[in-house]
């Protein structure tokens, strides 16, 4: 039994700043059902909650940190070459309020 509803799908899509068609949100729901069922199975694995979640590929990997040395800034023409709305040295957008 899925806890995911169509309204929720739309709400999530909206928060992600994407719009979904009717068909697309239906599809999300059916895909989600599959995942939900599988998660139910996962939950039947004994003591699953005691397993430490794995966030990295190489779990035992430890790093050194970067030395605090400046690298040259990227040229302004390169920074802005892919931007469609530029004002002098800056990127321009519709006025941001609030």
């Amino acid at each position: 039994m899925s806890t995911f509803t169509k309204e929720m799908v739309e709400e999530y899509a909206d928060k992600l700043l994407i719009g979904l068609t009717e068909e697309e949100s239906d599809m999300v729901l059916s895909e989600f059902d599959t995942i939900d069922k599988n998660i139910d199975i996962i939950n039947t694995i004994p003591n699953i909650e005691q397993v430490e979640p794995m966030s990295f590929c190489l779990d035992d990997f430890e790093v050194d940190l970067r030395e605090d040395e400046i690298e040259e800034s990227i040229k302004i023409e390169e920074l802005l070459q892919n931007c469609d709305e530029v004002s002098d040295r800056e990127i321009e957008v519709t006025k941001v309020v609030g």
């Binding site: 992600l16 994407i18 068909e23 697309e24 996962i42 397993v51 979640p53 590929c57 070459q81 931007c83």
Partner: protein
């Protein structure tokens, strides 16, 4: 006389002996690129003006290659096969590409992928479907579809790929070539457009194992721009290839490989598993010990969902930079929210949008433990199972997928409830960052199939050694796709 269907060493030898020039290789590769583009739609960009380079002692010097279009290439359109970046021209090279270029390699084209690597069919790129060069009614699989297609069709000896679930290793199998992703962090991901950072690997598609070792040797290295890379300067991946594999130990998982685990198995699956068992016999002939191991089916069946939950969650965050503000075609809107929303709605394919919603859902505070953390827990359990096997065995050998490339018209990229663990097990290689290579091991219905060898982290040399020896004992090394439209 053609060169682009040869191995890197053969080409290099003739370049050194001046039997052929770098320019001639480029001409041949570009010409083939256009032919292949016409037939299979493998490329986003063909670089007609590619310039020759000096031939040095570097094996890849002066030789053309292809780059998956989710690698950042300086001054060259890099789209990720997405409309969101359909006009994006980076000002920097991905580190691994820079490494290849520094050794004298020449980019001749950028290859099509499933949008940002999120797909397994080669059908979701913004420039259209990529067709299988063995039979254009079939898919190449994805996401490195264009790279696999081009290498199989003999456009050049290698193309780069990326692999988050099986995106190098499955298209390699469907196209009858070699696909190799080394241990996580051996090749820098700097400049690779991210899909799911904790699963993303760079790698290569070639027509033989030795070429794969040569190319990854040239791509790899610790990178100050990627904290997850490590120093592999002492590792020469070609060194171990030629050693006798006798005495090596391989394991296969019975729940995945034995036909009795599949109720209502179709003929194709039967043939595929038979063919796999046949490959195991060849291993034994090489003096490799092969044993059966067992892994809890509950865990195996959880692979696909684990993958979907983790990869969608990371992807939805990774692709939040795609707003059209700094790069990408700007959309109109009366405020920034509308502007970004129009851009994302218009330019992302439906598949990606759906996955974003799922990724976002599983990360919500109230859902995170049940979905995201549980998936990360199963990830660990699966990796532990594989690592347990690696204590006893040098590598795990498994069939790739449930058979050869499906028909394009049957392609769907939805998360299917009936997805078999057999179809998705390569994802464990991404969960654990394991070195993993697919090599061709036969034909079913006139289409190639592949076998995969996966080893423990940092043990790339072992994996490549076994793959090389096995490849030599079979008849599919260096094969070029021959179109065959007969359906059997």
């Amino acid at each position: 006389m053609s060169y682009m269907d040869k191995s890197i060493k053969e080409i290099h030898k003739d370049l050194v002996q001046k039997k052929v020039s770098s320019q001639e290789l480029i001409d041949e590769s570009i010409k083939k690129s256009h032919e292949i583009q016409e037939k299979y739609n493998a490329f986003v960009t063909i670089l007609d003006g590619a310039k020759p380079k000096e031939v040095t002692e570097e094996l890849i010097s002066g030789i053309p290659f292809g780059v998956k279009d989710n690698y950042s290439t300086k001054g060259i359109l890099s789209t990720g096969s997405s409309n969101t970046l359909r006009d994006y021209i980076p000002f920097f090279n991905a580190t691994s590409i820079e490494n290849l270029l520094n050794k004298g390699a020449i980019i001749v084209n950028k290859t099509v992928l499933d949008e940002f690597g999120m797909g397994g069919t080669g059908t979701t790129g913004h420039t259209g479907i990529v067709k299988n060069p063995w039979n254009p009614l079939h898919m190449c699989a994805g996401s490195s579809a264009g790279s696999a297609c081009a290498v199989a069709a003999g456009v050049y000896p290698y193309a780069t790929g990326s692999d988050t679930g099986d995106s190098i290793r499955k298209p390699a199998a469907y196209c009858g070539i070699v696909g190799y992703k080394p241990t996580y962090g051996m090749i820098s991901r700097y400049g690779l457009f991210p899909f799911a950072s904790s699963l993303d690997h760079c790698g290569v598609l070639t027509r033989n194992v030795e070429d794969a070792a040569i190319v990854v040797n040239a791509m790899k290295g610790k990178d100050k721009n990627d904290m997850t890379t490590w120093d592999s300067s002492k590792i020469d991946l070609t060194k171990s290839l030629y050693e006798n594999a006798k005495g090596k130990k391989l394991a296969y998982i019975k729940e995945l490989c034995n036909i009795e685990y599949y109720k209502n198995a179709d003929e194709t699956l039967k043939k595929h598993l038979e063919n796999f068992k046949n490959t195991l016999s060849i291993c034994k002939e090489l003096g490799i010990e092969v044993e059966e191991i067992s892994i809890d089916e509950k865990l195996l069946n959880a692979i696909a969902s684990t993958y979907v939950v983790i990869s969608c969650a990371e992807a939805t965050s990774n692709m939040s930079n795609l707003t059209g503000i700094i790069f990408g075609p700007r959309e109109e809107g009366k405020n920034y929210v509308e502007m970004i929303k129009n851009y994302r709605t218009k330019n992302f394919s439906p598949l990606i949008k759906r996955r974003f919603v799922i990724g976002s859902y599983v990360l919500q505070k109230e859902n995170k433990d049940r979905y995201f953390f549980n998936a990360q827990r199963v990830r660990r359990l699966l990796v532990d199972e594989w690592k347990k096997a690696f204590q006893k065995y040098d590598a795990i050998i498994l069939p790739v997928g449930t058979g050869p490339a499906p028909l394009l018209k049957e392609s769907k990229d939805v998360i299917d409830e009936n997805t078999k663990a057999l179809e998705e097990h390569l994802q464990v290689g991404n969960f654990g960052g394991f070195p993993s290579i697919t090599i061709p091991n036969g034909f079913i219905n006139n289409l190639p199939v592949g076998v995969n060898i996966t080893g423990n982290c940092y043990e790339d040399e072992k994996v490549l050694n076994i793959a090389y020896q096995l490849e030599n004992k079979m008849n599919y090394k260096n094969q070029i796709a021959k179109e065959n439209n007969d359906e059997i």
